[in-house]
């Protein structure tokens, strides 16, 4: 009974009303987050607040391009988050490489490595677009369509193979035993 309540409509409604995002500035998109979180736009009106630790967060924002060095940390972070968890891809760079499509250091397509629930276009997406993305994500959560975290488990082999392709030394994050 508890299990069915967890995935049920009421629980999903609460999840959509309280999306905690992880404070991780992965790329330049992070510059539009402070304006949307502080007084001028105020994301907190929708119960969206930044969290310091991945254990507490529900939404992982990939704010723009990801260098391979960051991608390694992002995946570790993503795997540390508790289910259900959602990923929002910010701007062109996460969709098809954006400005850095021919750079040797940044990945081009985020969904090879992580399941993405919602993409926003733009380079920078304006705060309104960020709001639109969050509201879209809320709608998807309420409908039960934001299943990225389930897909990650189902297609884990594929994601892992893609990740291994870009990491030359997987798992060795400096200082981690």
């Amino acid at each position: 009974m508890l299990e069915s309540f967890r995935g049920g409509k009421v629980a999903r409604w609460f999840k959509g009303r309280s999306m905690w995002l992880l404070h991780f500035c992965t790329g330049c998109g992070a510059i539009e987050l402070p304006p949307s979180m502080t007084s001028r736009y105020d994301l907190e009106r929708f119960g969206i607040i930044p969290m310091a630790s991945p254990r507490q967060a529900d939404v992982l924002l990939i704010t723009g391009y990801l260098s391979v060095k960051t991608l390694k940390r992002v995946i570790t972070t993503y795997e540390q988050m508790l289910d259900p968890k959602y990923v929002i891809g910010f701007g062109s760079c996460t969709i098809n490489g954006g400005m850095y499509w021919d750079s040797y250091a940044t990945i081009n397509k985020l969904d090879y490595y992580l399941p993405v629930d919602v993409y926003i276009s733009g380079c920078m997406p304006a705060p309104d677009a960020i709001f639109a993305a969050f509201l879209e994500l809320r709608e998807k959560i309420e409908k039960g369509e934001a299943n990225g975290y389930k897909l990650y488990k189902i297609h884990y082999e594929r994601y892992k193979a893609n990740q291994d392709k870009v990491f030359k030394n997987r798992g060795i994050i400096e200082g981690e035993d």
């Binding site: 736009y41 062109s92 309104d128």
Partner: protein, 157 residues
């Protein structure tokens, strides 16, 4: 440092009774400025298919495709021996909204609108042929003028 400095922060409490500065997006709309660099609009009839925009695009977001790829002109008759006009297809997974393409468009057919919100789940939806049939076609944003045009051309009246 006087005693004043201990208690001066209390003045911040006056904002308890003042009106917040928040723009309540999405209930209140924040209008983009006059020449905002939003999504592309292309007047396909006016476009001459020169490919300047594709060549100047820094992230290679523009690909020139035959006009017949656009649904509206799908059944267009092509005369024998004539090339089909090519029109720009733009990938918003690459575009950086710099508007350089607008500033080199010799026919002034390519323009930017003020529309800036596109949220999708499917990333294929970000590739589209710039056209004039979109809902925001009258919401013009960045349009090249004679001072900004990089080739020094003047828009025709």
């Amino acid at each position: 440092m006087g005693i004043k400095n201990y208690f001066s922060p209390v003045s911040a409490l006056k904002f308890l009774v003042k009106k917040p500065v928040t723009v309540r997006v999405p209930y209140e709309k924040k209008e983009p400025s006059e020449n905002y660099r939003g999504f592309h609009i292309n007047d396909i009839e006016k476009c001459i298919g020169c490919g300047n925009c594709a060549r100047i695009c820094p992230p290679n977001a523009i690909e020139m495709v035959p006009m017949t790829e656009y649904p509206k002109y799908k059944d267009m008759k092509v005369e024998e021996g004539k090339r089909i006009k090519k029109i720009p297809k733009i990938d918003y997974g690459r575009c950086c909204f710099c508007a350089l393409c607008v500033d080199v468009c010799p026919s002034f057919s390519l323009k930017l609108s003020r529309e800036r919100i596109q949220v999708e789940t499917d990333k294929e939806a970000f590739v589209f042929i710039a056209n004039n049939d979109v809902s925001y076609k009258d919401n013009l944003g960045y349009v090249a003028n004679e001072k900004s045009h990089l080739l020094g051309l003047k828009p025709k009246r």
